[in-house]
């Protein structure tokens, strides 16, 4: 199990803080910029980073992250190169890194080969949107052996019994999807999920992060009032889309992420 993820959440808990978890797509606008972005995010106050593996058919994503995926693929990003990027970043940063994406690139790479390479590169966990617990058995033993956590997603449609079962077996942290929908499509109404998240926390073995629809400091603060962490994806990816390879990108991202972090600390 990833000690970087556990240690990060333990330290946050001691300080009474909530985790800020930004999502960016690896290779958007290119891999060199992504490497800088990871360090910028860390400097700005990110506690853990979800790094998207681009895929040609991102079925759970809205237009913003679809476009990021397309830009990354057009630039020649492959899973192999994403792993090399992680290895490079690990020379200077110990921030927990979660690879997030769809199963096919990992399946095609070879599950065992991936687990070994990802672990060697310094990846902490894997989150595959289209690999529900019913199918995860085909990779879980291999991931365990490599010391990679497999992050579980829970949704508003997940029935209570199923939620209890999955939460009890969760590794790393739980990702609670705040709404039925794709990424970045609608705005969250934090109060509507408070009860669900609090109930989930009562039987979860690991911290609970909330994602989908969180785009502003106010959203993040409101969700952090009851969740252990907040995931911000599309809102951040929009800034990357806007500035691309322009020199002010890093400063803009740092400004956005520090504002979010300030909001969380103040919460």
């Amino acid at each position: 199990m990833s000690s970087r993820i556990e240690n990060t959440f333990a330290a946050l808990q001691q300080r009474g803080e909530k985790a800020l978890i930004p999502f960016i797509t690896a290779g958007d606008p290119n891999l060199a910029v992504t490497a800088d972005l990871i360090l910028t995010l860390e400097r700005g106050g990110a506690d853990l980073i979800e790094l998207g593996i681009p895929f040609s058919d991102p079925m759970a994503d809205g237009p913003t992250i679809q476009a990021a995926s397309e830009r990354a693929l057009a630039g020649g990003t492959t899973l192999e190169k994403v792993l090399a990027l992680v290895a490079e970043v690990r020379k200077t940063s110990q921030i927990p890194l979660v690879l997030m994406g769809y199963y096919n690139p990992v399946f095609r790479y070879g599950v065992e080969r991936f687990a070994k390479a990802a672990s060697a590169a310094g990846v902490d966990a894997l989150l595959l949107v289209d690999l529900p617990p019913e199918e995860a058995g085909e990779i879980s033993a291999v991931m365990d052996e490599a010391g990679l956590a497999l992050i579980t997603l829970l949704a508003p449609t997940t029935p209570p019994e199923r939620m209890q079962k999955l939460a009890a077996a969760a590794q790393g942290y739980l990702y609670y999807v705040s709404m039925t929908g794709v990424t970045g499509a609608q705005k969250i109404t934090p109060e509507s999920i408070r009860d669900a998240v609090e109930e989930l926390k009562s039987y979860s073995a690991v911290p609970v992060g909330v994602g989908f629809g969180i785009s502003t400091v106010d959203d993040a603060r409101a969700v952090a009032a009851f969740a252990d962490g907040v995931v911000v994806g599309s809102a951040l990816v929009k800034i990357i889309e806007q500035y691309g390879t322009a020199p002010e990108l890093q400063a803009q991202v740092e400004k956005f992420i520090s504002a979010l972090k300030q909001g969380l600390v103040a919460a």
């Binding site: 058919d57 399946f107 949704a155 929908g181």
Partner: protein, 398 residues
């Protein structure tokens, strides 16, 4: 032989499964349970048969293509005339089944993806019959190629959503249908048009389409007193083929032959032959053969026929291929066009370009077989929708 697929987890050997976002899992588990109930429910089956008979016009004829058989000089060729169904293709068998199931489950809203537009029309038709709301997702490129079917769907009261993401064809229409479903899953039934997608879809679509093979088996028994030697059908996702094959799967003496679209050739990058030239992978909720690059990115499919223009194939076909119970071959755009014209002129039947792939394979197969052999081929749809595409390909201006 014994053949019990899918297993209780929805797998066909290593293929199939439920590779979807958690948001959809509860809906799929509910669908699985609802389908398990109606499968054993005589009242549901009776209702399904009622609409197939009185609304779709089943049984569809089994027609002995005498002139085509004589012209080719080999095996006797029987056409299973799914083109004579209401709405002009086999697709309606499945939409009747799924929409009756949706009603059982209390849904009044359906969505569907469509490529050639046949499944979209079949869904919109049955939705109109039962007064249901209907949203159809169709790639921009296919909307251009199949304007007639788009207008038909609109007349039937469906909203047609133009899909511009990715390659703007069938696979992207399915992506957007899944995105819409994940957003509206609580009150929407997704009518998948082929034997692909997450479990239980490949199974239930196969079951609803099996009426094709069941009827053909009985009709051929009446006409010839025996089983066919070979059963042939075209394959995009593979629903007409699964419907034809399934009732023969345990008849070891019957060769099952699926015909994929070779486009400009399987050795080019412009084809849709997932089994012949693809690799196992995971897309749209199931594990199956896919057209993909070495990094697992899905590649563009190409076929002159919009209904075959899909980079994957139903997982049961992938399994039948691997256990060598069925054989999979391919036919190019040009061969399909030739067969389209031959069948039209010799038998007076204008086939869909999809079905023309199966006919083209029969045309090369029949002459190699003795006259006492029997080929059963599924004529999955009629060709009216393809007239503009064919005219274009032949350089004729309409």
């Amino acid at each position: 032989m014994s053949y019990q697929y899918p297993d209780e987890r929805g797998h066909f050997g290593q293929y199939g499964g439920r590779y979807v976002a958690e948001t959809l899992m509860p809906a799929l588990l509910e669908l699985e349970q609802a389908y398990a109930e109606v499968r054993e429910d005589p009242a549901f089956q009776e209702e399904f048969r009622y609409y197939l008979k009185h609304y779709v016009g089943r049984p569809s004829p089994l027609y002995y293509a005498r002139r085509l058989s004589e012209e080719l000089g080999g095996a006797k060729i029987y056409l299973k005339r799914e083109d004579l169904n209401h709405t002009g293709a086999h697709k309606v068998n499945n939409t009747v089944g799924q929409i009756l199931l949706a009603r059982r489950m209390g849904n009044n809203r359906v969505i569907a993806e469509t490529g050639a537009g046949q499944h979209g029309v079949a869904t919109a038709t049955v939705a109109a019959l039962f007064g249901m709301e209907c949203d159809i997702f169709m790639g921009k490129e296919d909307i251009r190629r199949q304007a007639l079917n788009v207008f038909r769907m609109k007349l039937l009261g469906a909203r047609v959503h133009e899909v511009t993401s990715g390659t703007a064809t069938l696979k992207d229409a399915m992506n957007d249908a899944l995105r819409y479903w994940v957003t509206h899953v609580r009150d929407t039934f997704y009518v998948i048009g082929t034997v692909a997608g997450p479990h239980p879809y490949p199974m239930l679509v196969r079951d609803f389409q099996s009426v094709i093979g069941e009827e053909a088996k009985a009709q051929l028994h009446e006409a010839e007193g025996r089983l066919p030697d070979i059963a042939v059908a075209c394959i995009g996702g593979g629903s007409n083929a699964m419907g034809l094959f399934y009732p023969f799967v345990k008849d070891a003496g019957v060769r099952l032959r699926g015909v994929e679209a070779a486009g400009l050739g399987v050795d080019t990058d412009k084809h849709a032959a997932s089994i012949s030239a693809g690799l196992p992978g995971v897309l749209h909720g199931n594990k199956t053969y896919l057209l993909q690059d070495a990094d697992g990115q899905i590649q563009h499919a190409h076929s002159i026929s919009a209904g075959l223009d899909y980079p994957g194939v139903g997982p049961e076909h992938a399994h039948l291929n691997d256990i060598e119970r069925a054989e999979y071959v391919s036919i190019t755009d040009q061969e399909a066009l030739d067969a389209f014209q031959t069948l039209t002129r010799i038998e007076g039947i204008i086939p869909a370009l999809e079905s023309a792939h199966a006919i083209a394979d029969v045309m090369r197969l029949a002459p190699t077989l003795d006259k006492d052999k029997i080929i059963l081929v599924c004529l999955s749809g009629r060709g009216d929708k393809d007239i503009h595409t064919v005219a274009d390909a032949l350089g004729v201006e309409l």
